[in-house]
Symmetry: C2
Subunit: 272 residues, 2 copies
Amino acid sequence: MLSQNKIKLIASLQQKKFRQELGLFVAEGHKLVTDLIGSRLRLEGIYATTEWITANRAPGGNDTCSLTEVTPREMARISGLSTPGQVLAVVHTPQSIADPAAVSELATSELILALDEIRDPGNLGTIIRIADWFGIGTILLSESSVDTYNPKVVQATMGSIARVRVTEGDLAVLLSGISAPVYGMLLGGESLYDHHLTQHGVILVGNESRGISEDLLPYVTDKLEIPAWGDTYAGKAESLNASVATAIVCAEFRRQCSRRSPPIEPQKPQIL
Amino acid sequence: MLSQNKIKLIASLQQKKFRQELGLFVAEGHKLVTDLIGSRLRLEGIYATTEWITANRAPGGNDTCSLTEVTPREMARISGLSTPGQVLAVVHTPQSIADPAAVSELATSELILALDEIRDPGNLGTIIRIADWFGIGTILLSESSVDTYNPKVVQATMGSIARVRVTEGDLAVLLSGISAPVYGMLLGGESLYDHHLTQHGVILVGNESRGISEDLLPYVTDKLEIPAWGDTYAGKAESLNASVATAIVCAEFRRQCSRRSPPIEPQKPQIL
């Protein structure tokens, strides 16, 4: 049973203003909620129908956060989906300000994605899912991008938001301190397939229509292009969708690396 | 100046029923409309604001289809967009029934995409754009998929609908007659990167949540998988978005082929 105030509070999280004010966001559906349970994110509460609770709660289970049974009618009021599911989680927004020194150090040991003004929620969610698939644990997001905790972004991640850290920051400041390679996707860059791609550094993805901002170009050390096979054939697509381009690039980074040497197991200190 | 009947007719094309009844669809925005002009698709008419006409019509130009000047108010009534643009085209839907014999022959000389129950308009539009980028000129679409001429699909193609032929058909019938390889993306398939990929045949893409239908599995000759780097690292994404997976696969087909020999201009038998 939900109070009117609670219903209003959860419903208000569809809006950025209230998400920021309350430091909370919503995630809906079985896959997303089960991915969030036990993840690094802290849940404020789970709101589920009797049916979901019966099917999913461990017998005599020790709930790690509050679980509230709701009627389908209440679910429809707190849900942002046109077809509400059986479960919804309210989640504490993680701290998400990127620290330049930490980012610079991280870039020397692993791949990071930096997104410059990604505006479409579906694109951002899909990119978070792609990062997860390719084992990229950190995304830097320019402040002018869509809000990571926009419900459309959260839903499009299909649970990957539970695993990939998205931190906001001024990309010019963050990139200026990096000594590792900064790969930029740019028309006229070298073919992705002719370039030696490292297992560390930053992959910079530009805005859906304008590409990489002028002020970030000086930080790009390696300009890359996805060759358009269509050039030699009939096709004439001028560009690829931002998330599609990101996927092709991430796949090629991982392919090249897997071809060079097997992933290295962290060194284990020898006892004997 | 538009008549009330014309406004009603164009507005009705947002619905599949009327698109099918009238054999027409709408495309909006400068990029899409200019890509359609002079393409293989036949335009019924272009509806544009004074501003667009002044900027875009060749002086003394010979319009290849009727051009109607509309007020911003009229544009708002015929447009399906929340922010209408300056130009809208009404286009004749091309004949789109795939002929099994023609498909079978085409598959021996070039790559074809076959989409099994793609339901999301954004995914279908994005896949059409990907096909265009990678020079794949033909897409076979199962009858249970989203309508190709749904305005959301058309807009997501970013003009590629003017170049890529999308033909509907019963995929089981079409695939059963094919002697060329039929590549299917399946969990447990061989790594895409370890498999010799040909420059001809069919790439079969499954439904967003259920994958490839049971009844199509017998026609798959080569089972492929995109390796999830996350398996060995921290990531745990269970899947990739259908259009993202399609992009990674198409990119790898073209990469492998470009590494073997320069692209050969394929023969193009006509399906229709």
